[in-house]
Symmetry: C2
Subunit: 235 residues, 2 copies
């Protein structure tokens, strides 16, 4: 039988999945707005931002309540801390979607330019990273989370190549400057979406294994000491 | 007399101040690298990144230990959670400093261009936001933290104006494209430093007052319910 505490943890997880759904949808809509030049999608992305922000506060408050009222140990404590961090990352993904959508709308007011960048491809990859990181969170799957980390290198490379190609285009065809600049900023925003997916994947690994893999090369992970009740306070 | 627990909280605070010192120094050095075209500063910024990353993990582990071994309530719990969040923001500020420094180094390999943007001014403002946010953290000063929030609007406006002026320059003088693009990216990074300072200021307000001011207009703040031990679990 699940205790009330564990039911509360389940509920917290469900709320975070709703949050993830909103964030992922916003990213997909913003890419679709870029691709189709459909400004009604921009409005949808903008309108969902307050809901995402409200949900972020609600999840944080629920996580805080659980920390305050219970004395979660080890894996449960790491779970709640991961939820707090993932929550912040998802909210930032929502912000980035708004940035992308607004840039996409600006581009509809400019002439069409055949730019040397495949934004939908980069966007699909970044959105897939978020989805996989959340799947890893749902299943507590550290292996899947590790795979998200390797995808980030790919996203970074596409973004760097986009920056080079678009800078080149600006020099060769100054008339394309406004469109190319907006595409550079959109690619940069998508690269940051990938960074947030990476953070989420690292939090999943931290939750499941107690390892802090941030800033370490793949395969080498720093281990955070498992907190033990009998250990003396740090001083 | 301070309890051992409160001594541990003091130590956590001290470590975070060291972290803040590193992050602020990196930003200042990166701006100086831009201003003086001195690539030895770029190396200094790059070399301090691993130290910042190591310290981030150390602070997180210490905060986690305190959460696991003690059962901090109300203000102490909020303090520890704020430290965890501020820690992540400072680490990102360090990353942004590295981005800026690398762009500054790239610019030294290009011809000098008299660009319509005052990067040192924007950088000084963004660094001041971080410093003030940390001062607010040191003194638990919610009023000073509120003032940081108002500075963010100014940083955003300078960044938007820089984007417009630099785009214009690219169109009018395509030869300046590489320098102008780098300046756009540096301004964008500094604007994000301001965002992180804003996050830190919001965390100070949350810690001191228990209010969650994120995403609310100035003066109107959402209140997170004070956790009470006797409240039933959420379900």
């Amino acid at each position: 039988m699940r205790t009330r505490f564990h039911q509360s943890l389940d509920l917290l997880k469900e709320k975070l999945l709703v949050m993830a759904g909103f964030a992922e949808q916003s990213i997909q809509r913003s890419i679709e707005a870029y691709r189709t030049r459909d400004t009604s999608l921009v409005e949808l992305v903008r309108r969902s931002e307050p809901a995402i922000n409200l949900l972020e506060r609600e999840i944080d408050a629920a996580a805080l309540d659980l920390l305050a009222m219970q004395q979660p140990m080890a894996v449960d404590l790491r779970f709640i801390l991961s939820v707090i961090r993932i929550n912040a990352d998802l909210e930032r993904v929502g912000d980035l979607a708004v940035n992308i959508a607004i840039r996409a709308r600006e581009m509809t007011q400019m002439g069409e330019a055949d730019l040397p960048v495949d934004i939908p491809k980069l966007g699909t990859l970044a959105a897939a990273m978020v989805r996989k990181a959340i799947e890893a969170f749902i299943d507590g799957d550290a292996l899947l989370a590790e795979r998200v980390l390797t995808l980030d290198t790919e996203v970074d490379e596409i973004n760097r190549a986009a920056f080079r190609a678009l800078s080149q285009r600006i020099k060769q065809k100054p008339a394309d400057t406004p469109q190319a600049l907006n595409a550079i900023m959109i690619a940069r925003n998508l690269e940051r979406v990938g960074d947030h997916a990476t953070n989420i994947a690292e939090d999943v690994i931290f939750w499941v294994s107690g390892s802090d893999v941030r800033h370490s090369s793949a395969g080498v992970s720093m281990t955070v000491p498992e907190p033990l009740e009998e250990r003396p306070p740090i001083h």
